[in-house]
């Protein structure tokens, strides 16, 4: 499965964060849009499960915005 803005937003919605997913901006860090550390941990776990990948702790700075997540996952799964 290829990562897209839509399916990443669906996953973020599944993580049940308090921010309205439609209002999220792709190029801004999720933590600067209201996601806290627990939201981010949950989003990363869901990404790992849906895309069947591992996101090691040393890669965390590469998955901090929706655009960055899309790029990271598509590089990893290509």
């Amino acid at each position: 499965m290829k990562a897209t803005s839509d399916n990443i937003r669906e996953i973020i919605a599944e993580a049940d964060i308090l921010i309205e997913v439609t209002k999220l901006k792709n190029d801004i860090l999720l933590k600067d849009q209201g996601a806290d550390s627990l939201d981010l941990a949950n989003i990363l776990l869901l990404l790992e499960e849906k895309f069947k990948i591992k996101i090691p702790d040393q890669d965390l700075d590469q998955v901090q915005s929706i655009n960055a997540i899309i790029e990271y996952i598509n590089n990893k799964t290509s």
Binding site: L38, A41, N42, L45, D57
Partner: protein
Amino acid sequence: MNLGLKQIAVYLPDKRISNLKFKNNFNFDNDFINNKIGVKERAIKEKNEKSSDLCVKAFKNLIKKEIIDTSTIDCCIVITQNPDYKIPHTSSIVHNKIELPDNCACFDISLGCSGYVYGLSNIISFMRFNNLKNGLLFTSDPYSDIINENDKNTAPIFGDAATVTYISENSKIFLKDAIFGTSGKNFQDLICKDYLYMNGRSIFNFTATMIPQHIKKLLIKNNLEDFDIDKYIFHQGSKYIVDTICKRLKINKFKVPFDMLNYGNTVSSSIPIILEKEMKNDSLKKCVISGFGVGLSWGSAILQFHQ
């Protein structure tokens, strides 16, 4: 011999540290404290108090609720990873302080948040095999001794407490089945060298993935379904952890007590603190209990209530 859980008593220190006071240091807001961590204030023991002192206070609360002839207690187990001393075992110190008889078997179990489930299975098996009649299972793990107050991953979470479960015949609650697990490869993710260290993401991933599967396995093994279970008492790691397990198991929130807001994550005491309250609920027939944490270690059990 049909041994079960006859009574539970809890000791929570009166002293509290408010997380709201520290929120600016850690950049937390009220919503994060109340609805994510789920700990507004932490119960903290006096500095000079040790694990055995907390056990004694729990025992004093037990004898207010149940007439216990201490000369009949033939087994005493303390679950702790913060013993009074490296040597001897804390159960021996408790034995002395509450004046248990010479024929009483005493030993400690070194486990954290999975400790109560392991402890119940251990004490009941050990007593049955050795034909013992009256046992005391203590949980006491005062983390305030090992917390760095500047560590935002651990300081806002843990509180001090102790519990004692009286195991005897003619009881109300019985251990029907228990299953256990360990992931030793992740032992460094929750560890105390000088102070407690926790890799929050790793512990979250472990809990969110392993525990729902483990509980499903327990239910399948016992031919039970969700509608057979009246309550799920999970270790109170944080509100977010409890909520996440609940969501992943797709179980109704009303079946899942949450109770740590005013005292914190009390490690092996978290399950018996809630169970003590649930014992008063006459409508309960079957409960799942599940503890998970340090090790990484986990254990889940089915408790059968005979009203």
